[in-house]
Amino acid sequence: MSGVLAVYGKEIKLYFRSPIAYFVLAVFLLGTGYFFSYNLFVSGLATMRETFQNMGLLAVILLPVVSMRLFATEYSAGTYELLATLPLAPWQVVLGKYLGALTMLVLMAFGTVLDLVPLYLFGAPETSTIFSGYLGFLLLGSACLAIGQLCSSLTENQIVAALVTVSILLGFWFVGHLQSFQTVQFLRELFLYVSFAWHFGEFIEGLARFESLALFVLFAAGALILNVCALEWRR
């Protein structure tokens, strides 16, 4: 575990010694803050439902910026040669980097907790629904980061990594819309089942279903396992 923690510590340092962490946090909090204020003060909706919806879409667009550099810059800067020759197993490198990225996700979620203050002051939100929404956000973000990290491990160009990740994530976000065009029942169910937006929507409604939780965990675990395989394959 010490190897994982060494990589994790390095990642956290790297995030906060570059403008990326501050940029992502600022854009995310400004975006969610704007939508939250609009929903609360203009639309008069004293719930987190719409804000969570916006948080999910913002995460799908912004998290690739967090994950894009994870391996791509190590390759292009030549530092992967160091990582790969230190006494660290590939899974330790993958997990250490992933935990670093997850920390960014938690900070993003934590930043929105401030929104809850006026919500509880001016309304009567359901606490369990809010917990469920945050759980869904963290699960959605975990899957997005793992997919982004996998994409980053496949290229030396972080812009390419970000663009491919955004394309994949937007695909999984909007794939649910395709079900209305399908006449085949199996395809209708499949498109709905792999839709990130639909499963995240369940969490926002307060339905923390095992099926939705399992989907995000499976996506994250699968991407991380493929990430380890990609590193082994590079040798």
């Binding site: 190897g3 990589v7 340092k13 530092t79 160091l82 020759t85 230190l86 006494p87």
Partner: protein, 313 residues
């Protein structure tokens, strides 16, 4: 008996191209082995396979008794590897970077400070210890790359062109560091700088087109290519063709080149390394010509290197 580094028929191919071709040798305890070869000879690829960065296509590498493929973490723990282009995190400061490497190498927390002091001092990094890596000069970057390799007191040091791009003073300091650590650790050093190998290495491995052409001590290699010994003469005017015939009659003289474009003639004899052939040459020439100068050249490392590389070509 197992050596700190053992290569058995190590091969690396990329598609149809063989970059390293059945290379076998070992590096003994406390031995410094120099890896010589022209660009593209396969030196870096071989070092990368020993370091565990690349997997061999076939063959075996063991480091400190651990197979690099089946026990990658154990073998990596025994290796300190400094790539040619130092692998540095630009936004870290020097101590922060070394601290990360120490943690990744599982240096005990209680020993971390003393180890950092040791490598910072050995690589003369004290003046820049708090500086960010991106602010370092090329010389400091190279030394920081060496310092990270020394952390954790690895049994084996793999150094890829450790003095490339350094000024003469820095080269001398870096060689001193390598020499001091070479007493306790086994060092495999890749370089283009021939004098560096002569100054530092106990044995030299010559690699060309991925094949190991020779591995021996500098003296052993010079003896092995003894046929490249030369005797140079300066002879006052006379018939050059007669002079050439006379010299070729001498036992031990293999080839004679006479440059008769100007007087005195410059005569270059390739001679056998055995026996005192220059005395016989002197006697034979002095009988009918005015011998102005005679000098024997033992093969330099450059001669040795060119002998093998051109021979292979």
């Amino acid at each position: 008996m197992s050596y700190p580094v053992e290569l058995h028929s190590l091969t690396k191919t990329y598609g149809e191209r063989t970059v390293v071709d059945r290379v076998s040798f070992h590096v003994g305890q406390g031995e410094i082995v120099g890896f010589l070869g022209p660009n593209g000879a396969g030196k870096t690829t071989t070092l990368r396979m020993i370091a565990g960065y690349l997997a061999p296509t076939s063959g075996q590498v063991t480091v400190a008794g651990h197979d690099v493929i089946s026990s990658p973490t154990a073998s990596a723990a025994a290796v300190g590897y400094a790539p040619e282009r130092p692998a540095l995190y630009e936004s870290f400061d020097v101590l922060g970077y070394l601290h990360f490497v120490a943690r990744a190498k599982r240096v005990r927390r209680a020993d971390t400070a003393s180890q950092l002091d040791r490598v910072v001092s050995a690589c003369r990094l004290e003046a820049v210890a708090r500086s960010e890596v991106y602010k370092l000069s090329k010389g400091y970057r190279q030394r920081l790359g060496l310092a990270q390799a020394l952390l954790g007191q690895p049994e084996v040091l793999l150094l890829d062109e450790p003095t490339s791009g350094l000024d003469p003073g820095q080269i001398s300091e870096t060689r001193e560091v390598i020499r001091s650590f070479g007493h306790d650790q086994s060092v495999l050093l890749s370089t283009h700088i021939l004098p560096e190998v002569t100054l530092l290495c106990d044995r030299i491995a010559i690699l060309h087109h991925g094949q190991l052409l020779a591995i021996d001590s500098p003296a052993g290699l010079a003896t092995a290519v003894g046929r490249a010994n030369r005797v140079e003469l300066q002879v006052a005017a006379g018939e050059p063709s007669d002079l050439k015939e006379r010299l070729l009659d001498i036992s031990g003289v293999i080839r004679v080149d006479v440059d008769d474009r100007q007087v005195p003639y410059a005569v270059n004899c390739a001679v056998d390394s055995s026996g005192n052939v220059e005395a016989a040459i002197a006697r034979a020439v002095a009988r009918d010509w005015d011998l102005l100068a005679l000098r024997r050249h033992d093969p330099s490392l450059e001669d040795v290197f060119l002998h093998y590389v051109e021979g292979a070509a």
